[in-house]
Symmetry: C2
Subunit: 327 residues, 2 copies
């Protein structure tokens, strides 16, 4: 079979692609692993990861023709990760609408037009929750997105839901926790500081913590997220039933706990590179985010979170030796 | 000022337009009534109602250029009623997406592009609720639309919410109860029977009741809905606050109670024209609808429902003498 990963040059996309191609096959139904003959990574740039079965296509997801052209007769599954992140979607509203809303519409329409049914995994976000929330967020909690990114993701979920109900595709949406530690450079995500305070000191660079250290977030490591994405893609439609959106398991972690885990893994020295300087505009946004979830449904479906925050930091150090400052 | 009513040739549109032009002015802020200089009715056909200040524009709301062309320098408010109804949106998915989703996007973009802030009232629907619901639906209840119409309306609400939060427009969405008695011919709305069983016997025509007479629905008369639409348009943004969507007051009425009200108003004779013949496909859909609401927030904001179902039937007879069979 052929698979498509949108946002395939991003860090989650690259890791999903590596995981899929290293496994060489994937089971879209229990005990029915199919060989992966080809994989198309669609993004605005090419990624670093290379494999004989991998083809990069650089383009614009808001262009329906480019999206249609990604499909082959044997396309069976899509992982839709392409998005502009929260801070960018807020600063550039039209770009966010193009990529985050037109993008999924184009993908859904193109998938629907295929002769064979397409399984589609949509990377949604816990950013669909915000504002006045219950102490613990559940799958039944009403999403009330506070920013354009969350609105666009939530609309994407509604479309995935309806296209699945109509039988146009076999879709599922997973609300991904804040990913910590996000590798690479700081990006436009408003939640970026939760990664920055680990990654930057480990690289020997100074970093600002713009929120109170007691600030808690709902986090998962890239490893855990990629494992959960693979699991979400593999689950038979019967296991989802009517509701095709789910909150993914994570850990409730304060920035203070992150810093303590950093010290356990790398000693006290990197801590001197963290400067606490509250930024009211980020504080205002972060205070509307959900940090405690009851993900009973996801756990029952076999999704699993990281063990603890220290394991998250250790995994980052193991996976990114090139990004660690030699102490 | 200039106002735009989309879906202006429909029965609610015609009644809104008549109400506005008869009043000659409208207050978008308390004690600040402004004269209505002109009103544009946009729809796929022209309506019957005529007035020197009224101009019909026939066109396609999915065409952004046609939508932009509706605006004038003095446009201050829009009532967005244009939609394909539930049964049609389910039968013709692409048409529903075009009219119900592209339509509001075009309108929001065009409104945002104006120099002066535009007030926009979006006619949403209680069809955003469905499936497994609490006994009583509240504003906080999570919408779980069961059909494409409800999905499209709910997405429209999300966009109105975000455009309002960003300050692009001053929007508000009202979830309209099932309108009873809808005048004219039976249409593609799956809820149409609730009107048909009053209107058709009053016209001397046979009608089928496709559900159990004990079936309850959340209903409001056209008069009450038009009054609530005018009220929703007039309320200052401060009275809405963050949440720009609201469930409108209505009455919980069983089909049995409707038939009893018909008998009170028009005698026993019309009842012989009602044939009970359950239709499993309609039953399946209707059983997922919400019929009991707690609309405390809307009542506190000054929205009001009809007195009772008999008053609804009497109002229809008064408003549509041409549609009553002379007994």
């Amino acid at each position: 079979m052929h698979m498509i990963v949108t946002g395939g040059a991003g860090f989650l996309g690259q890791q999903c692609i590596a995981r899929l191609l290293q496994a060489e096959s994937f089971a879209l139904a229990p005990e029915a692993a199919q060989p992966i003959r080809a994989l198309t990574a669609f993004d605005v740039v090419e990624g670093d990861y290379q494999h004989p079965k991998l083809r990069y296509v650089v383009g614009d997801i808001a262009d329906p023709h480019q999206v249609s052209a990604l499909f082959r007769d044997d396309t069976a599954a899509i992982i839709h990760l392409a998005a502009v992140v929260s801070g960018t979607a807020e600063a550039n509203f039209d770009l966010g609408m193009r990529v985050n809303l037109d993008g999924i519409r184009n993908l859904l329409q193109a998938a629907r037009a295929q002769a064979k049914p397409i399984r589609l995994l949509f990377a949604s976000s816990i950013a669909v929750f915000g504002g006045e929330l219950p102490e613990v967020v559940r799958d039944e909690t009403t999403p009330t997105p506070q920013g354009s990114y969350g609105i666009q993701k939530y609309i994407g979920e509604q479309l995935v839901q309806d296209y699945s109900r109509k039988g146009f595709i076999d879709g599922r949406s997973v609300r991904i926790p804040t990913v910590v530690v996000r590798p690479g450079k700081p990006n436009g995500a408003a939640s970026g500081f939760a990664s920055n305070i680990i990654r930057e000191p480990l690289a020997g660079r100074r970093v600002v913590l713009p929120v109170d250290p007691a600030t808690a977030m709902w986090v998962a490591s890239p490893r855990a997220v990629v494992t959960m994405l693979m699991h979400a893609l593999s689950l038979a439609p019967e296991l989802w039933g009517w509701n095709r959106a789910i909150n993914l398991p994570g850990l409730t972690v304060t920035m203070h706990e992150e810093i303590a885990a950093l010290a356990k893994v790398a000693g006290q020295e990197p801590l001197s590179l963290i400067e606490q300087r509250p930024d009211p505009s980020i504080l205002r946004l972060v205070n509307t985010w959900a940090s405690r979830f009851d993900t009973a449904r996801a756990l029952a479906m076999g999704f699993t979170a990281d063990d603890d925050v220290e394991a998250i930091v250790r995994a980052y150090v193991e996976d990114h030796p090139e990004a660690i400052h030699k102490l």
